[in-house]
């Protein structure tokens, strides 16, 4: 982002919406903020319409607060609950169609590389489990196989939430959901392992129950994508509305699942990515 691009033209300060003025005065662009700074600056996401206690909203908020370079990050989303939040995100973000996010991101990343050869532009895909593991799985995997330098983040609520709670490939076996009236007949897809096999240089599974861990893996994934190749992050983000639990219990539910051995955080790092991360993390 060019410095000063955000600036309000003199005389227009009064008529700009207050939240925009706040972004100009106290936004995260060009600053080295992390999740530890939440509450002290104007966040990229505001007034989103997602449900109370939505795990996905929490993951999205933490993800946006963990971007290493928000001022040069373009997000590609997909149809689903998060698409309702993205118009409230103060970053360039694309909503094209349901499932085509990794194909759009491939073209976008390459075009930005051509236009800004000297500058890093992070392209980050943020989409639901249905978008990533079902309808868009071919394009997700093909972008990994082609070694596109993009980060793919799945907001995994284990269902098609936006259309009313249907079974997805990421739902647990046996879960009774719409379109799975007698329970899901096959296991949850192991996308982190598939990502690893497909050549992702960095793969992680995390959740907003451990915000520091979430922040670390998102940051690592984006930095590795910039330097080495495709990366994948899966964020377990339960949906109180469709799974019908108390919205206050989103985080405790994740912790319980972890205790029961039904959810675990993961990290696969290629040798090249490991060496790269060591070099920058030591430096820091």
């Amino acid at each position: 982002m060019k410095t000063g691009m955000l600036k309000i033209s003199p005389g227009f300060e009064e008529i700009m919406p207050p939240e925009y003025r706040e972004l100009v005065d106290n936004g995260p662009y060009g600053k080295d903020y992390g999740i530890g700074d939440l509450g002290s600056y104007k966040e990229l996401l505001e007034e989103h319409p997602l449900c109370a206690g939505c795990g996905l909203a929490l993951s999205l908020r933490l993800t946006l607060a963990s971007l290493p370079m928000p001022e040069d990050t373009v997000i590609v989303g997909s149809t689903g609950c998060s698409a309702l939040a993205f118009p409230q995100v103060a970053l360039h973000n694309i909503h094209s169609l349901f499932g085509n996010q990794n194909a759009v991101a491939s073209g976008l990343k390459r075009a930005l590389k051509l236009r800004f050869p000297e500058k890093e532009k992070d392209v980050v895909v943020i989409a639901g489990d249905g978008a990533t593991a079902d309808i868009g799985l071919d394009m997700v995997m093909q972008s990994w196989l082609r070694r596109e330098k993009i980060t793919t983040i799945m907001l995994d609520n284990e269902a098609y939430a936006n259309t009313g709670g249907q079974e997805s490939g990421m739902s647990m076996q046996g879960a009774v959901l719409n379109m799975a009236p007698t329970g899901k007949k096959f296991p949850k897809l192991s996308l982190p392992e598939i990502a690893h096999t497909c050549g992702c240089a960095y793969v992680a599974a995390a959740s907003p129950a451990k915000p520091k861990q979430l922040a670390k893996v998102v940051r690592r994934a984006i930095l590795v994508a910039r330097e080495i190749g495709p990366t994948y992050v899966q964020l377990y983000s339960p949906c109180p509305t469709n799974y019908k639990f108390n919205p206050k219990e989103t985080v405790s539910l994740i912790k319980q699942r972890e205790k029961d051995g039904l959810y675990q955080s993961k990290e696969y790092i290629s040798q090249e990515a490991q060496a790269f991360l060591e070099s920058i993390e030591v430096k820091k």
């Binding site: 118009p87 970053l91 194909a103 590389k113 800004f116 532009k121 071919d138 093909q142």
Partner: protein, 390 residues
């Protein structure tokens, strides 16, 4: 990208109206010749007959440095999504497909138009099954009429070459900024060698400047930072409904504004031969060439016949047609598809539309011999006389 050799020559006038040299090439080669001069940043390909050869040649252009990025994608939907992403990022893009590929990618075309992206895509039209056919047939055009993209229909390789360059010029006008599909009937155009006139190799279009786009580029360099606040879609209330509708109206209005640019760069949306005639054949694509022969046969028999070649299908030259056909008694519309979309369009554009005969319709790999068209004219005239005599 203009190659090193092209660096100093980038004038539109020279490309469109300058001296040209003869070349004896196929339609597929003509596509590559156009792309070579179009200063394209990125092309993405997925093979399908009869498109493949042209995208192989475009790949060779990449290898030679005329295009800055090129790859084989995973399917046509992904191709159309990826060129969309590249266009949103500010690149000039090119791709092409045919029949089933067009249908596979269908969901993307209205997105291109809705996002106001000046993507140029060539369509080498073919059958779409069932029964399976790879033969020339342009039914896919009928399925794309309301996707919001502009649609130009080439009669031959020369048209295909010219229309691809013209497409970029029209698509990128700030008051248009819409995708353009350039259509040719597969095989008849792509696989036929004909003499064409090409501008010198060392001139190319000026680069695309996304700074003139009426919508912001997604590069975090172009204000506003927040592209939308409160979604245009997804909310069931009057404000978002009317915001969505007015955006859509603007897409349609942009297509209307393209008319003057089509007139400027292409000399009009249609061409009329023998304007005062009582009998007309109206056609687009290769059916025009067949109609030219039919016209010659009819004129040799002393019939007062004329020909209308429709070059722009979207926007459609409704008022031009209505005017050109004011005094006509009969309009025969031969088509290379079973649906008859062109006849339908013409019927919807002129008054006394019982004058329109939607025939012959040729498909499944059959040819359209000129006598078939003449026969339809005579049949219609005979039927008219019978009717008149009752």
């Amino acid at each position: 990208m203009c190659s090193e050799k092209q660096k100093n020559r980038d004038t539109v006038a020279e490309l469109l109206h300058g001296l040209r040299n003869k070349a004896f090439i196929t339609g597929s080669e003509a596509v590559a010749e156009a792309v070579k001069r179009a200063n394209v940043d990125m092309a993405i390909a997925y093979p399908i007959t009869p498109q493949s050869e042209s995208m192989h040649l475009v790949g060779e252009l990449f290898a030679k440095g005329y295009i800055r990025d090129y790859y084989r994608a995973e399917n046509e939907f992904a191709v159309m999504a990826a060129v969309h992403g590249a266009a949103l990022g500010g690149g000039r893009v090119f791709t092409a497909t045919s029949g089933p590929g067009t249908l596979r990618a269908m969901e993307m075309f209205p997105v291109w138009a809705g996002a106001r992206q000046p993507i140029v895509c060539a369509f080498m039209c073919r059958g779409v099954s069932l029964p399976p056919s790879i033969q020339p047939e342009n039914i896919e055009m009928g399925m794309l009429l309301d996707t919001g993209m502009l649609m130009l229909h080439a009669e031959n390789g020369q048209d295909f070459f010219d229309m691809i360059l013209q497409a970029y010029l029209i698509a990128e006008q700030p008051d248009v900024h819409l995708p353009v599909g350039v259509f040719a009937d597969g095989f008849f155009v792509t696989h036929t060698r004909e003499e064409m006139l090409l501008p010198p190799e060392d001139c190319c279009l000026p680069p695309y400047d996304p700074g003139f786009a009426p919508v912001p580029v997604f590069d975090m360099e172009t204000p506003p930072m927040r592209i939308t606040r409160d979604p245009l879609l997804n909310k069931s209330n009057f404000i978002s409904g009317s915001a969505n509708a007015s955006w859509h109206q603007e897409v349609l209005a942009a297509a209307e504004r393209a008319r003057k640019h089509i007139a400027h760069f292409m000399g009009g949306l249609l061409e009329v031969e023998n304007p005062g005639a009582k009998i007309f054949i109206a056609a687009s694509g290769t059916a025009v060439s067949q109609s030219r022969e039919a016209l010659r046969m009819m004129q040799a028999e002393g019939m007062d016949a004329g020909l209308i070649k429709i070059k722009s299908i979207r926007p459609f030259p409704a008022s031009e047609l209505s005017k050109a056909l004011e005094a006509a008694d009969l309009v025969v519309v031969p088509e290379f598809n079973a649906g008859g979309w062109l006849a339908r369009e013409i019927r919807a554009s002129i008054d006394r539309n019982h004058r329109v005969i939607g025939a012959p319709r040729v498909f499944g790999g059959m040819t359209m011999p000129p006598w078939l068209i003449v026969e339809e004219v005579k049949k219609a005239l005979g039927a008219g006389q019978n009717r008149g005599g009752c």
